[in-house]
């Protein structure tokens, strides 16, 4: 049941989005992370490396002395990678079509944060570990919940696609109200604003756009509850509006009823009814830049909810979303290097029209209050230590070598250990 919900969520908010936005992925904003580049260059000549979730293959050209192959679920991206001369396959990270222990190294760069349950994330890492030889290394990058100057308020988010990231730079001052009725896991209050030093050499530490508000554009995030929490009735902290619904499911008779209701496609619709649009996301803390607060404007909220409802019916948008307006001007974790270039180059900011002339489906532009929700990417952003914990607690075959924060991402390197079995 959970599996079906998860698969559905990922199909709609990961796979099909990437299918649509694939043509935009080859522009200069998506560069190779220096640490990944270095990892590849440090490999022994004659190594075999697999890039699981290789996207357009941007890591597959690095180090000609090693054999690289890549795989992804997104056909347009894989096609592109192949056109660049790379060995690539279509496959799903949860079922890797490679024999045991055949790789010297495995990359998982900005991939597993698209998996919507903890169990699936563990499975994906386990699959990669299976294909690693003993002594081989895996490198994982995922988006961090805590970032240099801001923090996602929840771990499970939907991020709108913006084909012109520079048009969304800018700052809006607005207020944010916290609420006691948040449905999310409680945030660790110790994780306040803190200086997290980036260790990468690419970005300019004197950031970037926060100090130069050029446009009044809002960046909007959609927050969601994780599928894990939805299915774990015991741990819910529920708001009044939803408690009635939930109690019918948790009561003994309700359970049976609930189970029936939760079967099949109806499942997600049921789930979506728990995402009360009026619940405000976030804690009372200001985890953003001190000047700015988050504004949960009623107008904005209603407008977007109306939108969402429309989208719910027309596009079969099955998970309705809580909406919060965010004034953050900082780019998403995968746009750092692009932002560096942009900061040197402020004049081009206003262009909204430029889009590459590509294929049939385009993702619509963001406009104030009007968002087409068909290009929302699902992310589970990771808390500090979460990734390492995942591996340490669930994977005996992997030993964590190091983990650190790099430019809004958590990075982890781990090595495959020998099994303690009689047969080797």
């Amino acid at each position: 049941m959970m599996e079906q919900a998860a698969t559905q969520l990922e199909r709609e908010h990961v796979h099909s989005v990437y299918d649509k936005i694939a043509p935009y992925f080859n522009d200069s904003r998506y560069k190779a992370w220096p640490k990944v580049r270095q990892f590849l260059l440090d490999l022994e000549p004659g190594s075999i490396v697999a890039d699981i979730g290789c996207g357009n293959g941007k890591y597959l050209h690095i180090n000609k002395d090693v054999f690289k192959l890549g795989c992804d679920v997104c056909r347009p991206l894989v096609d592109y990678a192949w056109s660049q001369g790379h060995e690539v396959q279509m496959c799903n990270g949860l079922q890797l079509p490679y024999r045991d222990g055949c790789f010297d190294a495995v990359l998982s760069i900005a991939v597993i944060h698209h998996l919507s349950t903890k169990e699936r994330r563990i499975r994906a890492i386990r699959e990669m570990a299976r294909t690693l030889r003993v002594g081989g290394c895996i490198m994982i990058y995922v988006w961090a919940m805590e970032q240099k100057r801001r923090k996602f308020e929840k771990q499970d988010i939907f991020v709108p696609w913006n084909p012109n990231p520079h048009s969304s730079l800018g700052l809006i001052k607005s207020k944010r109200r916290g609420t006691a009725q948040s449905l999310s896991e409680p945030l660790d209050n110790k994780e306040k604003q803190r200086k997290i030093r980036s260790t990468s050499s690419v970005a300019d530490e004197e950031d970037l756009t926060c100090t130069a508000p050029q446009q009044k554009t809002q960046r909007q995030w959609f927050f969601s509850r994780s599928l894990d929490s939805v299915f774990d009735f015991g741990s819910l902290s529920i708001s009044q509006s939803t408690s009635r619904d939930l109690s019918t499911l948790t009561s003994p008779t309700g359970e049976n009823e609930g189970n029936r209701r939760w079967r099949g496609r109806g499942l997600i619709k049921q789930v979506s009814s728990f995402f009360s649009p009026s619940s405000v996301i976030g804690s009372e803390e200001d985890v953003f830049d001190p000047v700015t607060d988050l504004h949960k404007g009623q107008n904005g909220l209603r407008g977007s909810n109306a939108n969402l409802d429309n989208n719910n019916s027309t596009e079969n948008q099955e998970v309705s979303l809580s909406f919060a307006q965010d004034c953050g001007s900082l780019p998403l974790p995968d746009l750092w290097s692009f932002q560096k270039e942009q900061s040197e180059d402020n004049g081009e900011g206003k262009e909204q029209q430029q889009q590459p002339q590509q294929g049939s489906r385009e993702c619509p532009q963001e406009a104030d209050g009007q968002l087409d929700t068909s290009c929302l990417r699902y992310y589970h952003v990771f808390r500090e230590g979460e990734l390492a914990e995942l591996i340490e607690n669930h994977m005996e075959e992997l030993h964590v070598k190091h983990t650190y924060f790099d430019h809004a991402n958590w990075f982890l390197e781990s090595v495959r250990l020998a099994e303690e079995k009689e047969h080797q």
């Binding site: 004659g46 697999a50 795989c71 096609d79 060995e87 279509m90 079922q95 079509p97 490679y98 010297d104």
Partner: protein, 123 residues
Amino acid sequence: MKLLTHNMLTSHVKGVTKGYPLLIKAIEVKVNEVEFNPTFVSRMIPKLEWSALVQAAEELGHRQDLPSELVADYENNEDFLKKVHRAMLEVEVIEGCLQCPESGREFPISKGIPNMLLNEEEV
């Protein structure tokens, strides 16, 4: 799809235990020149399932007297290394399919890209 890649691929249909090596049914095969690097080749050899490489090359009609067993001291045998290089890196399947030896399930190869995605029932 190069044969070096094929050497790593296996059928992962649920319940299958002998899904390797995948049988190749090729419709279009190309041979492209790839720069020969003897060190690279000799380091790659121990990572291969040798018999699977030979079988695959044979299926494509490109075996070209690749031996059934690894020769001794191949690191210094440039002729041999060149043969391996050719089979492993230069022969490419562009169109066709890979077939699971146990279940018979076919994974299509199109434009050089094998599609190993499983259906819901096979997972």
